[in-house]
């Protein structure tokens, strides 16, 4: 490995914690964690403790720093790592020449070793100044800002005050890991504010170190690194048999690629403080000086404190923002759910809330896909897009992208309107989803130099990579991209999705249930229709057969009675008046029975009505009398409210009599067990109609029966075959009238109406 090139393939795996060297502003001594013998020492040890590595390796540490200090070291609580605030241990001891040596020591435990990083102590007054500063300004300055950028600016200014660096910048890392300078404090004329730095500027191993070590100071980029020597006398780097792990060393030497990078920027000294939120590298405070600059560990400690405070504030600020957005999303979801309870469909809910939803997600357009239906809101492409490829990359029902064209083929127009998209999956089967669209974000990124590393091919054919040679401003126009979807956006999307998915599922369930009900109702109707049809044909045949079979004996009876009467006359028998009357009645009854038979058959086989102009009052009365002739209800009251002024009605008297007979018989049956047994029949002339009301005080009609009341074979309403009411309806409808049951609290009310000829506009 050379200083100026690094292999592309190993770039990210470069073991910088095994670099085996320190920066020259301090010395490193590593002792065995138990025996306290010196195992490693940096070659510059003599400048700090007066004796070089060759003299101290393998020796007891007590011999170097004194028994008292060594005892104290054993009492220090040392973690395996020390990413926390630097906690310096100030030690004084007599050097080999007897002079007093004052050092700051940063001890930490690592892999069975205690690593002691030694630096010259700083005079006390600085610390007092820092405390004062801290008390006076620091907290109030940092706590004041309400926005991220303000906080970052305050933080940058204070850190520059404390450290005295030429330039302090605060980077924020985007999701693609590239950095943007969001705050800057500098005494130089040029500004890096707003510049973007490519992600490759900080390789992943470096990022890991930024997470583990909050502060990283490089007082002089170009100072010579100091090798660390093991007891075997070799350099303890990655190539050696026993390298020393410098992961948590503040003094760790600088990786060659980083040296080159900083040199290319013209930087001579660097200090960086990690901004960590939720264990993520949120950003970085980068301090640059254009000459070497060493700051005391006290100031370093203060800078670290500032960094941590800033991080904490950033995190709370971000959490608050996120919380606020989440709360808004939750509130919106809640209100949508509330509205849904009123029975509003998902489609109209989205329609009602479109503006609010798009605002919440910072979207300019929205597409709702429900099965094969698409509903568009706001700005959407005129040519439809197929989102199935975006749907495929969803996790937990949400997929977001700031560059939709990376997922699906798009034309220019589509790319402008639907540069970014967030997809919410709304159904198990992937048939329903909601897509938020973000328009193109015409952004010009001001890169600090062309964001590509320079690749070169060396003579041996290995591709090598070196950091950018130029940091000249590089503008890049970005097309077909939207503002990225942040973690906050995704949280809000997840909240909305959860609510909408639930509502949609509910709606699907309800629709399925309804469809099932409709299918069942349809089936019932079909069954009734079939029954009806089978009834019609079989009843037709049945009626025909019955009519024939009954007509014959009726005919015979009638004939015999007539013959009998005639024979009596022929024999000159004087028939008593009463007997003659009975004979006449017997004949009349057989005739009536024959009539009824014929008309029923005609009627059932859709024959013709035997209509004539009749006095409905009389027909009704006859029907009721016939029904009453067979009942024995002593308490039954019958109210006949006839209207003698109604016009004659064109109707078949036998059939209308049959209707009255059926209705009356039903009422009487229903009142069998009633306390009050009152039958009221009322005839009313009403416009073009004569209406007949049949009211009773019986058990009434259960509501679920209402629908099928007039269907055939609906046996629960009558005690017979259940064709009584259906027959009534058929008869009344054949008369072009109407029959229905009126809903009442007690008992039941049946009404039928027949047209008054000439009154309803039909000219006879």
């Amino acid at each position: 490995m050379t200083l100026d090139t690094v292999n592309l393939e190993t770039c990210d795996q470069e073991p910088i914690h095994l670099i085996g060297a320190v920066q020259p502003h301090g010395a490193l001594i590593a002792i065995d964690g138990d025996r306290f013998t010196v195992e490693f020492a940096s070659r510059n040890a003599a400048s700090f403790i007066g004796v070089g590595p060759e003299k101290i390796l393998g020796k007891d540490i007590a011999k170097l720093i004194g028994a008292g200090n060594a005892r104290q070291l054993r009492t220090l609580t040392l973690g395996p790592s020390n990413p926390e605030l630097l906690s310096p241990w100030f030690i004084s001891f007599s050097g080999p020449d007897g002079t007093q040596i004052d050092l700051e020591c940063l001890p930490h435990r690592s892999n069975g070793h205690i690593i002691l990083e030694l630096m010259h102590a700083e005079p006390a007054p600085a610390r007092v100044w820092e405390d004062e500063y801290l008390r006076r300004e620091f907290i109030s300055e940092l706590v004041k800002p309400g926005a991220l950028e303000e906080l970052a600016n305050a933080s940058a200014r204070i850190i520059r005050d404390v450290t005295g660096f030429d330039r302090v910048m605060i980077y924020r890392f985007a999701e693609d890991k590239h950095g943007e300078v969001i705050a800057e404090s500098t005494n130089r004329p040029d500004s890096f504010l707003g510049l973007h730095y490519p992600a490759s500027d900080i390789p992943d191993p470096a990022r890991r170190h930024f997470l583990l070590n909050v502060v990283r100071a490089i007082p002089d980029i170009n100072s010579e690194r100091v090798p660390i020597i093991s007891r075997k006398g070799t350099v303890a780097d990655a190539a050696s048999a026993s390298p020393l792990d410098l992961t948590f060393c503040k003094l760790r030497a600088v990786a060659p690629v980083h040296v080159e990078y900083l040199n290319n920027m013209g930087v001579a000294a660097s200090l960086s403080i990690s901004l960590v939120t939720n264990n993520q590298l949120w950003g970085l405070v980068a301090c640059h000086h254009y000459e070497p600059r060493e700051i005391s560990s006290s100031r370093l400690r203060f800078a670290e404190l500032l960094g941590s405070t800033t991080s904490a504030l950033l995190q709370s600020m971000e959490s608050t923002n996120q919380l606020q957005k989440s709360i808004t999303a939750e509130k919106t979801a809640f209100r949508i759910e509330q509205q849904a309870r009123g029975g509003t469909s998902l489609r109209s809910l989205i329609n009602d809330w479109a503006t609010v939803l798009m605002q919440l997600i910072d979207a300019q357009g929205m597409l709702l896909f429900l099965g094969d239906d698409v509903v568009a809101f706001g700005a959407v492409p005129s040519t439809p897009l197929d989102f199935s490829d975006l749907w495929k990359v969803q996790a937990d029902g949400v997929a977001t992208t700031a560059q939709l064209s990376e997922h699906i083929d798009m034309d220019e127009e589509q790319m402008k309107v639907a540069a970014g998209a967030a997809l919410l999956d709304l159904s198990e089967d992937g048939q329903d989803y909601l897509v938020f669209l973000r328009s193109e974000f015409e952004q010009t990124i001001r890169w600090a130099g062309k964001p590509d590393k320079v690749e070169t091919t060396t003579e041996d054919g290995v591709t090598r990579l070196s950091p950018r040679g130029s940091f000249a401003l590089w503008r890049e126009e970005r097309h077909g991209q939207s503002r990225p979807f942040s973690a906050m956006d995704r949280d809000a999307l997840r909240i909305l999705r959860r609510a909408l998915f639930a509502l949609n599922s509910l709606e699907h369930e309800r629709a399925a249930l309804e469809a099932q009900r409709a299918a069942e109702a349809q089936e019932t109707r079909l069954r009734h229709a079939l029954l009806d049809a089978s009834r019609a044909s079989s009843m037709g045949e049945l009626a025909s057969a019955i009519a024939h079979e009954l007509n014959q004996p009726l005919s015979a009876i009638s004939n015999y009675i007539s013959a009998c009467r005639q024979e009596l006359r022929n024999a000159d028998v004087v028939i008593p008046e009463r007997a003659a009357l009975l004979i006449d009645e017997a004949v009349a009854e057989t005739t009536r029975a024959g009539d009824l038979m014929r008309r029923m058959r005609n009627f059932i086989s859709a024959g013709d009505l035997n209509a004539e102009f009749i006095d409905l009052n009389r027909t009704i009365q006859q029907g009721i009398e016939l029904a009453l002739a067979y009942v024995d209800l002593p308490r039954l009251q019958v109210n006949l409210l006839l209207d003698q002024s109604i016009p004659l009605v064109l109707a078949d008297p036998v059939q209308i009599g049959q209707v009255m007979l059926n209705l009356t018989r039903n009422s009487i049956t229903a009142m069998q067990d009633s306390r009050v047994q009152k039958l009221t029949v009322e005839v009313i002339s009403s416009g073009a109609w004569v209406k007949v009301y049949v009211r009773d005080t019986g058990h009434g009609i259960p509501p679920e029966q209402h629908k099928y009341l007039f269907e055939p074979f609906n046996t629960s309403t009558t005690q017979g075959m259940g064709i009584g009411l259906s027959l009534c309806r058929s008869i009344i409808e054949a008369h072009e009238g109407r029959i229905w049951a009126e809903p009442v609290k007690t008992g039941s009310v049946f009404v039928f109406q027949l047209p008054i000829e000439g009154a309803n506009g039909e000219q006879a």
Partner: protein, 202 residues
């Protein structure tokens, strides 16, 4: 007041059902007619005596040769016996057909004794060369004149043996209106039914 018609006059009762046949015979015998019971058309053809003054009570629905077929065969054989058609299935098309083929009346079961005797009397009168109770042409024409154009159209359809629903469909008006027309026609022509109309108008 016993009605004693001509004892020479015989009524052939062509009816397959025993009780009905016997009851008809009993009724007619009580009224002074001699009867020849026949249980089928074939049996009638066997027993028929052309020399006798007679009429026939014919059930249209018979096993073997039907009443309508028998009527046709008699016409072919030029046997001019008056026929009174009796049926338990009073359907209009059959009524019109048998009337057109020369039946003098069409009666539905159960029959009213008076109506039946009326028809038999008419048949015997025909044979006695008495003037049939035919209405003078003038009266018929007067009655016809009372009909509206529409009623005349309906009447024509009725005489063709059409059902109300067929007439309604053909004329594009409701069945109910047809019923009204029929009722008016019955009133104006002073008839009881289709049989009277056919007898009156041919």
């Amino acid at each position: 007041m016993a009605n004693r018609p001509d004892q020479e006059f015989t009524v052939y009762v062509v009816e397959d059902e025993d009780s009905v046949r016997k009851s008809f015979c009993a009724l007619l015998n009580a009224h002074g007619y001699s009867t020849v019971p026949c249980e089928s058309a074939e049996s009638f053809l066997k027993r028929f005596d052309p020399k006798q003054k007679a009429c026939m009570l014919l059930d249209v629905r018979l096993p073997g040769m039907s009443g309508v077929q028998l009527q046709a065969q008699l016409a072919e054989m030029r046997i001019g016996i008056p026929i009174i058609v009796v049926t338990a299935h009073g359907d209009i098309p059959i009524a019109v057909q048998v009337m057109r083929n020369g039946a003098i009346d069409f009666i539905e079961k159960p029959t009213e004794a008076g109506r039946l005797l009326e028809a038999i009397e008419m048949a015997s009168g025909l044979l006695a060369n008495q003037a049939p109770s035919e209405l003078p042409k003038k009266i018929i024409a007067d009655r016809l004149a009372k009909l509206t154009d529409r009623e005349r159209v309906v009447l024509r359809h009725m005489l063709e043996g059409k059902l109300n629903k067929e007439i309604a469909a053909e004329l594009g008006i409701s069945r109910r209106t047809i019923e009204v027309h029929r009722w008016r026609i019955r009133e104006k022509m002073q008839v009881r039914g289709i049989a009277d109309l056919i007898r009156m108008l041919g």
